[in-house]
C-alpha cells in the first residue's frame, strides 16, 4: 500500500554532496520558488560562483551554515509531486552526527544513504545505514553520488554495491536496499534519467521515492495501543458528567463495545464511545487522535495505556534497551535520569552497560565503563514505576523512550527497548 505522506531522511558530511542532492531534487521537481532561486543566485555570485547555481545553498538555513559551508542541525523540507507528499529530514554528519541521524531516522519511513563514488564506502555512510537499521527504517536507498567523477563507470558502481551489500547484510533487522548511481551536480538519475549511464535500468531516485511501499507502518495490523494523554472533563455545568480519555492511537484499531484493559493499573471495562470533534465513530485506527469514553468509572490517568486484554503489552520496571547517547557529559552505571515513554515520565537508574557497538566493524565492545557523545550501547535500566511496553522491533511508538537530565533538562539519550 502506498502512503500519502512519505518521510525520508538523508545524512552526510560536508563533501559528499548531500545538500546538492536535496537541492537538485527540489529544483528538478520544480519545487523551488522564484524568490528562493533569486536568493540562491545572489548568494552564489557573492561567494564567487561561476554563474552556475550552487543548489546546496537552497538548503542551508542558518547564517553560520552559509558562512562556513556546513550544516548545523537537522532541517526539515517539504515537497510534493502528483503522486506523494514528502518530508525530508536533512541531517548533518559532523560532530553530533549520531544525535542528528537518530533524530532524523526516528520519524522516517525511508533512509537515503549517500556514498561518494570516488571515495568509496566510508564510515559515515556505514554509520547512517547502521542507525537506519537500528531505528527500524524498513527501506534504504543507497545513492552512489558523484558518478560524473568516476567517468560514470559501471564497474565502479558495481564494486561499491558489492562492498556496501557485504556490510548491509550484517546489519540488525536489515530491510530492503535499493542502489542508484547518480550525479546530483548534473542531475543524472535524481529526477531525470541519465543519458550517460544507460547501463542502469533501475528507477531514478524520485521515481523510487514515489513508488516505494513502506510495509513497516501498517499501524492497523498491530495490537491496539492507546496511551492516555489527557483527560477531558468539562468543569462547567453543561455536560459535567462527561469524562473522556484523549490520546493518539499509537497502533491497531479500537471499536465501540470492545473489551479493554488499563495497563499498568489493571482495570477492565468496555469502550462506551469513540468521540471526535466531528462526532462518534464505530471504529478508529492508528494514527488517529481521539477521545474514548469507558463504560465503567475507573481511575485512568495520563500515562496509562488502553488495549485489548488478550493483547496486552509487557509491564516491567527492568528494561534492556539500546541507547544512543547524545550529550557531551558521560553516561555511567549508577546514573539517574528522567525517562519519557509514550505519555508517561518516570525515573530511571542505569544498572549496567552490557556492551557497546562499533558502528564501523559492527563488533561489540564488552562492558565499557562509560558512554560518550555518539556512542550506541545496550544498557540495563530500572524504573521508578512500571512501564507498559512492546519491543521496539515490534512497535516504534510503545518501544521508544528518551532520557532527560534532571539538572539541566537536556535530552541526553534516545532509547529502543529490547525487552
Amino acid at each position: 500500500m502506498t502512503l500519502d505522506l512519505l518521510r525520508f531522511t538523508t545524512a552526510g558530511s560536508v563533501d559528499d554532496g548531500k545538500s546538492t542532492l536535496i537541492g537538485r531534487l527540489l529544483f528538478d521537481s520544480k519545487q523551488v520558488f522564484e524568490d528562493q532561486l533569486a536568493q540562491v543566485a545572489q548568494a552564489s555570485e557573492r561567494r564567487g560562483g561561476t554563474g552556475t547555481l550552487d543548489l546546496a545553498l537552497l538548503t542551508d538555513g542558518l547564517r553560520a551554515e552559509r558562512e562556513q559551508g556546513i550544516t548545523i542541525d537537522v532541517a526539515y523540507r517539504y515537497f510534493a509531486t502528483a503522486k506523494r507528499r514528502f518530508i525530508i529530514a536533512d541531517c548533518p554528519g559532523h560532530q553530533q552526527y549520531t544525535r542528528n541521524m537518530v533524530t532524523g531516522a526516528s520519524t522516517a519511513d525511508v533512509s537515503v544513504v549517500l556514498i561518494d563514488a570516488r571515495r568509496g564506502v566510508l564510515e559515515q555512510s556505514k554509520r547512517h545505514a547502521f542507525i537506519s537499521a537500528l531505528l527500524g527504517i524498513p527501506e534504504m536507498v543507497v545513492a552512489i553520488n558523484k558518478m560524473d567523477l568516476v567517468e560514470h563507470s559501471r564497474e565502479r558502481y558495481e564494486e561499491l554495491v558489492e562492498e556496501f551489500a557485504g556490510y548491509a547484510q550484517k546489519l540488525p533487522g536489515a530491510g530492503a536496499v535499493t542502489y542508484i548511481p547518480l550525479s546530483a551536480l548534473n542531475g543524472d538519475n535524481v529526477v531525470q534519467r541519465s543519458e550517460t549511464m544507460d547501463w542502469y535500468e533501475g528507477p531514478v531516485l524520485l521515481e523510487h521515492l514515489e513508488q516505494v511501499e513502506v510495509a513497516y507502518d501498517h499501524p492497523g495490523a498491530k495490537p491496539a495501543r492507546f496511551p492516555v494523554q489527557w483527560v477531558v472533563r468539562p468543569q462547567n455545568g453543561n455536560g459535567s458528567d462527561y469524562r473522556g480519555y484523549a490520546g493518539q492511537l499509537a497502533s491497531g484499531a479500537l471499536r465501540r463495545g470492545d473489551e479493554v484493559t488499563i495497563v499498568p493499573s489493571g482495570g477492565r471495562t468496555r469502550i462506551a464511545g469513540i468521540d471526535t470533534f466531528e462526532g462518534e465513530l464505530d471504529e478508529a485506527t492508528a494514527p488517529m487522535s481521539l477521545t474514548l469514553r469507558l463504560e465503567d468509572e475507573l481511575d485512568v490517568s495520563r500515562g496509562e495505556l488502553i488495549c485489548h486484554p488478550e493483547e496486552a503489552p509487557e509491564v516491567t520496571q527492568q528494561l534492556e534497551a539500546d541507547v544512543c547517547w547524545m550529550h557531551a557529559d558521560l553516561m555511567r552505571p549508577g546514573g539517574r535520569f528522567m525517562l519519557k515513554h509514550t505519555s508517561r515520565t518516570v525515573m530511571a537508574l542505569v544498572e549496567g552497560i552490557e556492551d557497546m557497538l562499533d558502528t564501523h566493524t559492527l563488533e561489540r565492545i564488552e562492558a565499557p565503563t562509560e558512554l560518550g557523545l555518539n556512542d550506541i550501547a545496550r544498557v540495563r535500566l530500572r524504573t521508578s514505576a512500571p512501564l507498559a511496553f512492546d519491543a521496539y522491533a515490534r512497535n516504534r511508538r510503545t518501544g521508544s523512550f528518551i532520557l532527560i537530565d534532571e539538572a539541566t533538562n537536556a535530552t541526553v539519550a534516545a532509547g529502543m527497548i529490547v525487552g
Binding site: R66, A75, I87, T107, G220, P223, Y242, I402, T411
Partner: protein, 305 residues
C-alpha cells in the same frame, strides 16, 4: 482482535492528528500555556485543532494577540468575533502600550514598521502572565531559519532561541522540562505547508477574514509590493495611490504586508491559486523578511514568533 490493513489517513488527517497530539502533550505537561492568535490563517487552523483536542471542555489555556495597533481592521473584527463564538478568553498585548511605557522606541519615517517591536511586547506579556508555553502557527516551509526549528522549541530566560543548541526531538516524545523563567514555543503546524493550510481551511470550511479574498482596495507600490493605503502609511515622493483588485496571502501589519493581485474570491479559487504559485508567501508579501539574507533568523534568536 487486530484488523486487516485498511486505508491510511489522508495526509491532511495525518498532519491534523500529529498536531492534536502535540497540543495535548503541552496541555498536560505545562502549567500555563497560551495560544497566540493573530486572526491569520495559520492561527485560525490552530483554533480548530484546539477544538478537536479539548472539546467538549473549554481550552486549557487562554488566547493571546500581540496587537501592533497597525492591523487590518477586518482582521481585528474577525478576531473578536471568533473568540466570542468559541467562548474562550483573549488577552491583547499591545505594542502601543509598550511604546507608551518606554519599553520600545517607535521607528520613524515612511518605512517605519512595528514588526520588530512586537518581540518585546510578546516577551513582556509572557513574563507578566507567567506563561511557560506559547503555541504559534509558524511552519517550517515558510522560511529557511524556521526549517531548522523544533516542534517544541526551547527559549531561555531572555526569550532567546539558540539554533546551534536545540534539544533533539525524537519520535513523538517531546521534552517539555524547563526551569522557572524559561519557556517553550510550540508549533503544531511545523510539518504543514501553505497549501496544506489552505486545503485544511477548505476541508473544514473555516471562516477567515475577508482580506484573504479578492477585493478592491486603495494601494501604492513600493519595492515591487502593493501596500494598503491607510492612516499608518507615509508615502515617499513619486508613489501614487490607486485602486487595485487584491487579496492577502498572509496577515501581518498593514505597514509590512503586501497584497497580491488576485481575483480569487472563494476558498476553492484560493487553493487553486496557491497550488499554482511560483513565489513563496513570505517572499511575495512580507517586507520584514527582505531586510537581509538572515532577517528571520536574527528576529527569531531575539524571541520573535
Amino acid at each position: 482482535m487486530s484488523v486487516a490493513t485498511r486505508p491510511q489517513l489522508s495526509h491532511l488527517r495525518a498532519l491534523e492528528s500529529e498536531a492534536i497530539h502535540v497540543m495535548r502533550e503541552v496541555a498536560a505537561e505545562f502549567e500555563r500555556p497560551v495560544l497566540l492568535f493573530s486572526g491569520g490563517k495559520d492561527s485560525i487552523v490552530l483554533l480548530r485543532l484546539a477544538e478537536k483536542a479539548f472539546r467538549p471542555a473549554p481550552f486549557p489555556f487562554p488566547l493571546m494577540h500581540v496587537d501592533t495597533g497597525h492591523n487590518f481592521p477586518e482582521v481585528i473584527e474577525f478576531r473578536d468575533r471568533r473568540v466570542a463564538e468559541l467562548g474562550e478568553r483573549l488577552i491583547v498585548a499591545s505594542v502601543q502600550e509598550s511604546i507608551d511605557k518606554g519599553r520600545v522606541v517607535e521607528e520613524t519615517g515612511p518605512r517605519a514598521s512595528r514588526n520588530r517591536l512586537q518581540t518585546v511586547t510578546l516577551l513582556d506579556a509572557i513574563s507578566e502572565h507567567g506563561f511557560d508555553a506559547a503555541f504559534g502557527g509558524a511552519r517550517r516551509d515558510e522560511e529557511r531559519a524556521r526549517a531548522k526549528e523544533r516542534i517544541m522549541s526551547f527559549r531561555d530566560s531572555f526569550g532567546q532561541w539558540d539554533p546551534k543548541d536545540q534539544r533533539p526531538e525524537l519520535w513523538n516524545l517531546y521534552n517539555g522540562r524547563i526551569h522557572k523563567g524559561e519557556h517553550v514555543r510550540v508549533f503544531p503546524l511545523s510539518n504543514w505547508t501553505e497549501l496544506d493550510v489552505w486545503e485544511y481551511i477548505d476541508a473544514e470550511q473555516l471562516e477567515i477574514p475577508s482580506i484573504y479574498f479578492s477585493h478592491r482596495r486603495e494601494v501604492f507600490k513600493r519595492d515591487g509590493m502593493l501596500y494598503a493605503m491607510s492612516e499608518f502609511a507615509e508615502l515617499i515622493e513619486g508613489e501614487e495611490v490607486y485602486e487595485e483588485t487584491v487579496r492577502y496571502r498572509t496577515v501581518g501589519d498593514m505597514s509590512c504586508t503586501g497584497g497580491v493581485r488576485s481575483t480569487a474570491a472563494t476558498l476553492e479559487e484560493v487553493v487553486l491559486e496557491i497550488a499554482a504559485t511560483t513565489v513563496t508567501e513570505r517572499g511575495e508579501t512580507r517586507a520584514d523578511d527582505r531586510v537581509s539574507e538572515a532577517a528571520m533568523e536574527d528576529r527569531k534568536k531575539a524571541g520573535y514568533f
